[in-house]
Subunit: 339 residues, 2 copies
């Protein structure tokens, strides 16, 4: 009798917020590895906001997931059977298995993880794509200097939490923007940001201004919308704006109205000599060696902390992902698919 595997496929392209019927759980036989192949069993599945983009067929930097195709994701997987000389059963690897329990691989694109060095799921978070996103976006575009003010939105999340802590390491003032008092407390008290402002506060603009008495030199954009509206008037001359994400817009069906119009943005770009630059982590893969040398050291020294939000069971991935887009996660969102 064959063991059964499970996967979650994209059933339809969401219009607006994704809903349960946009996903479908399928059961299929565990596949058998052919020559040169390994069978991977998913242990950890990473959920990240960029996946909303993959559900849409609007032009973007990556091609969309096809209808009836498995949702994409980074995963930590265990090799359970191997016909590949480079991997043996029991190896733990970073992979892109997607939202499924089992997958075959020819070994390309896998990276072996050492469970002695760090908890393996950190390769999906602080030591993985989100950590590297924070590290490179700040180093290559934000370039914070000592004494400057760095503001980051989604400040308790996988990327934002690291941005602010690195800003502190660089001697800058770090101000977070997060959703709700619990997250704000965590950002200030646990992560050590200088301040954190609740984006749900109706007085967001005034609170942010008070938290940034010398204006904003770097704004690390994860969110857009009302948060940008609050940040924009506070930008200093020569401010840098790494644009990493726009989570508040990802499910918008039309271009959302924002307070400041295109003409006003450009006027400020000119008169304040702003730099607005979009990036994705793969633009800076050349910095991976620096990242993987510095980040574990900072963690060891207690200068970088991180938090994981763990949900058990592949079947809960869709609902958890929908919550992530609404900011219901608290820390790096992971699904534990198997122990």
């Amino acid at each position: 009798m064959t063991d059964s595997a499970r996967r979650i496929v994209l059933a339809s392209r969401p219009v607006g917020d994704p809903k349960p019927s946009d996903f479908r759980l399928e059961v299929f036989p565990v596949p058998q590895p052919g020559p040169g192949q390994v069978l991977l069993r998913t242990k950890w599945l990473s959920l990240d906001p960029y996946m909303r983009g993959r559900m849409s067929d609007a032009p973007s930097y990556a091609k969309p997931v096809g209808i009836n195709e498995v949702m994409e994701a980074g995963t930590v997987s265990e090799v359970t059977a191997s016909n590949n000389d480079k991997y043996k059963a029991g190896d733990i690897v970073l992979s892109r298995a997607g939202w499924q329990t089992h997958v075959l691989s020819d070994g390309s694109g896998l990276r072996k993880l050492d469970p002695e060095l760090a908890p393996v799921q950190t390769s999906l978070g602080v030591l993985g794509m989100p950590g590297m996103t924070a590290y490179t976006g700040l180093a290559e575009i934000g370039t914070p200097k000592a004494g400057e003010t760095v503001v980051v939105s989604a400040a308790s999340g996988a990327v934002g939490s690291i941005v602010g802590q690195i800003a502190r390491i660089k001697g800058a003032r770090a101000v977070g923007i997060a959703g709700g008092p619990d997250k704000c407390r965590y950002v200030k008290d646990e992560l050590g940001f200088d301040d954190c402002v609740d984006h749900r506060d109706p007085a967001l603009a005034e609170k942010l201004k008070a938290a940034c008495p010398k204006g904003i030199d770097v704004y690390f954009e994860n969110v857009s919308g009302a948060v940008w509206d609050a940040v924009f008037p506070l930008l200093n001359p020569f401010a840098r704006i790494p644009v990493c994400g726009l989570i508040s817009q990802y499910s918008a069906t039309d271009a959302p109205e924002m307070k400041y119009k295109t003409a006003q943005i450009f006027r400020a770009v000119l008169t304040k000599r702003l730099t607005i630059r979009g990036f994705i982590v793969s633009d800076f893969w050349g910095r991976f060696d620096d990242f993987i040398r510095e980040m574990p050291q900072w963690i060891k020294e207690g200068r970088i902390k991180y938090r994981e939000d763990v949900v058990d069971g592949l079947e809960n991935a869709p609902e958890t992902f929908m919550g992530l887009l609404k900011g219901r996660n608290f820390g790096k969102q992971l699904v534990r698919v198997a122990e």
Copy 2:
């Protein structure tokens, strides 16, 4: 009997387009140089779009001209009397005398010009601020590579004409946007751009698309408004947008409506990883030595051409400036104040 000097002062802050009554011509006695001073007589006065910003008290990178103060400008002047060891009567200097026939100076900020090297008024154009603006904005932000497509607006103007020609020197395809068939013909036939599109053409967007079959890698922004609307959909991944000017907006009393909204701009910034960066020439003074070495050489080799639009008489400066904002000039706008 004292000779009389003339100056044009800002009489009132324009609301919308500047009008004649916003300026006032004043007659005053030619001043006498005190110890260490020189008397300068203006020969050439430069008119540039940035002056519209100086007439407004909205926050910007420079403080505004005060009411009843002389309008600011770069000038080429002759030393007519000197109590300063560094200058003697007959010296020709680059200065910032403003819109007036005579001014005293203690010698600071002056630069001696050699009339044998180049026509002195080029220090206000191709060998001066506009040329340096084109050179640095393209080199530091645009960074065109061979085979890329560079689009520049106000392409027959003092800055735009140089941008496109440098782009060609760098091996890029240069496409201009200019106002009317005469300017477009000049940009293509005289300056050697690969193509030029008329921004008054109702089919601007389609024409620009046809002129840029491989999309746009660098857009040097001088104009904003409908020109930006035509450029934006054609931007390639990793496009760079040096924002040098927004002349179509300078006299707007409210933020002009533009086709693409703030949220759409940011979506493209992220998915295409655009870089939008404002600058003014003084941000890059460190490049002056490079500029003043390369540009005269390019002119000598016939690789950079330039055109001057000369009006005689200080009294014509206001009307000429109003025309400049409407694109009525054809080439670098100069006022010949004295032979």
